[in-house]
Symmetry: C2
Subunit: 150 residues, 2 copies
DNA sequence: ACGCTGTTGCGTGCTGGTCGCGTTTTGCTA
DNA sequence: TAGCAAAACGCGACCAGCACGCAACAGCGT
């Protein structure tokens, strides 16, 4: 399941795209880096090895990789988008209070997805935007501060 | 349930905020205008009656109204945020293909909310970001075009 | 090695939104 | 109804995140 850079590079070639240094470095950063990198963070990682890579190159590569189905981007909040490999696609729960991000168990969306499909004919793809809420820790703190408020 | 402008104005006063022409017009636009206005659309509506109102005034008013709990903003996709009165808060389903926006039935999130609460202690507030997917019409079209693809 | 064409670096531009400043307006008080 | 402090406003500058046009460069099939 964990893709290697070489496998992803092969996907690029299959899709008719060329394999460049910048592109390979973006993939490397996605495979080996942190879990929810922004374009900016990817740029930093790429520049660590190839200092002259331009920001727009990273944006264009991410766009191309997304078009090929190799990566997806997700919005976890109001900041910049975050990117992951498609093999790692998953839903996200983000705490509105402390900003903590957690991956949603796959089956969490299932009942909702089935309900939407049956009642509205709507096929859920709940990965693109995070679902906000309040995490356990922050809920506990809030309960302590204002125990009477529902 | 449908708030009048006067009731909302009263909420402003109760919150310690002053009531200005621009502010009243923003509220009027929210009450009487379309269902998911952007800040830009609200600005246009406000300017129809008060041409000199500045964009930043609308932004600041929306921020203040949100702080007072009178309005909330929601992200339906990649474009600008949309605003509604808190009394009209609801989840949204947005079609990735055609962009159609529908309000989610209230109970659609219930099973998921309960699951998140029980298993993760996470209190869902699924209103801030829309949940994407493919609407019935677009799913039907997609099925026609590529019937063999799962 | 050659050449076609995809890709890059760079600058510039755009959208959506924020901020600081000096002026106006609101709403309290008398 | 006038006076006053603070809130809100109009305005312009600015910022983040990202897209785009163009000339130079580089991947890769031959």
């Amino acid at each position: 399941m964990t893709s290697t850079v070489d496998e992803l590079v092969a996907q690029l070639r299959d899709g008719g795209s060329r394999v460049t240094t910048a592109r390979r470095l973006v993939l490397t950063a996605l495979v080996k880096g942190a879990h929810h990198p922004t374009a900016e963070e990817l740029l930093v990682a790429v520049r660590a090895l190839a200092p002259d890579v331009h920001a727009s190159t990273v944006y264009r590569n991410l766009e191309e990789l997304e078009r090929l189905g190799v990566v997806v981007h997700t919005h976890l909040g109001h900041g910049p988008a975050t990117y992951h490999l498609t093999t790692e696609a998953h839903g996200h729960l983000v705490c509105e209070v402390c900003g903590a991000t957690m991956e949603a168990p796959e089956d969490l969306f299932e009942a909702m997805a089935q309900g939407a499909k049956r009642r509205l004919g709507f096929e859920l793809r709940p990965y693109h935007f995070a679902v906000l809420g309040v995490c356990a820790d922050c809920a506990a703190v809030a309960a302590t501060l204002e125990p009477s408020v529902g």
